[in-house]
Symmetry: C2
Subunit: 141 residues, 2 copies
DNA sequence: GTGTAAATGCGAATGATTCGCATTTGAGCG
DNA sequence: CGCTCAAATGCGAATCATTCGCATTTACAC
């Protein structure tokens, strides 16, 4: 059962299993959207789970530290957003008109990073890419 | 003379030529580093130019709008940073240890963006890339 | 020079995130 | 199962970058 799996993740991370941790992980694992701390609070409230906003922040901090969640800071959004870490490297394509956020599961960078390591002397650990444009729906309108 | 050139840019942008605009543009055009609003204020102070922080923000806003400057929001920095717009497409390579920020003037993306347009239906207008790693100096230490 | 909109200074407001501290809770242990 | 203690939580206040309101000053067109 998925829930047991999440509890294992929490415990393996050395964290206590609390209802808030479990419900935030469940929420994000089921969400196709990125959610802000505030959104998370709202969504849990819909499920009759009342949680203090400070606790949301502290909880997602821990879950990001332990790589159960990812924190995403997008150029156009002032609030941090969170997603369940599905362990699949990805980037985002964002509509400048309607702010739709689409994950992209291909990555153009592999070889280039090697070149860059040679040229720069850096040992490269990661990268972040965002693409901006106008989505199909917004082009029509 | 460079200064006349900057005044032209300001006027062509439909802005009034003020000492603050000119000195911020001069400062950033001479800087190899990205500067925050606060940094800009500090640097001008060193040159005996006293400017209110609100004015720094309002000035860089206008200069970004008119594409004389670029605003850069990096993942690890909480404050926005500004650079003179040298009209050369670039990305940044950032040392996770010493926070050194190195601009990279090559771009790995051209073909990939076309593929992405076809696959996604988006009309792509731009992208943002940051690379993270450990710089040569920090690797030694 | 005059007039007027734009620019500036200053202090207050905003808003996301963090912090301090009192209280509660989870998990190991007997 | 009850006990203990660190970790988690709630709540209100603090922080800090950025923005705003408003009174005053300035640039520039006439
Ligand atoms: Mn990638
Ligand atoms: Mn590029
Ligand atoms: Zn759209
Ligand atoms: Zn370094």
């Amino acid at each position: 059962m998925q829930k047991e799996n999440f509890i294992d993740k929490i415990l393996n991370a050395g964290l206590k299993n609390t209802k808030y941790r479990l419900s935030i992980i469940e929420l994000l694992s089921e969400s196709k959207e990125l959610l802000t701390a505030y959104n998370i609070r709202e969504e849990l409230l819909k499920k009759k789970i009342k949680i203090n906003l400070s606790t949301v922040y502290r909880t997602v901090d821990k879950l990001v530290e332990t790589k159960i969640l990812n924190r995403i800071n997008l150029e156009n959004e002032k609030n941090a957003m969170y997603e369940y870490n599905r362990e699949k490297h990805h980037h985002f394509l964002i509509c400048e008109n309607c702010n739709k956020i689409v994950p992209i599961y291909s990555c153009p960078i592999d070889k280039y990073e090697l070149e860059l390591e040679e040229k720069s002397g850096f040992q490269i650990k990661g990268h972040k890419i965002e693409f901006y444009g106008i989505c199909e729906d917004c082009q029509k309108a």
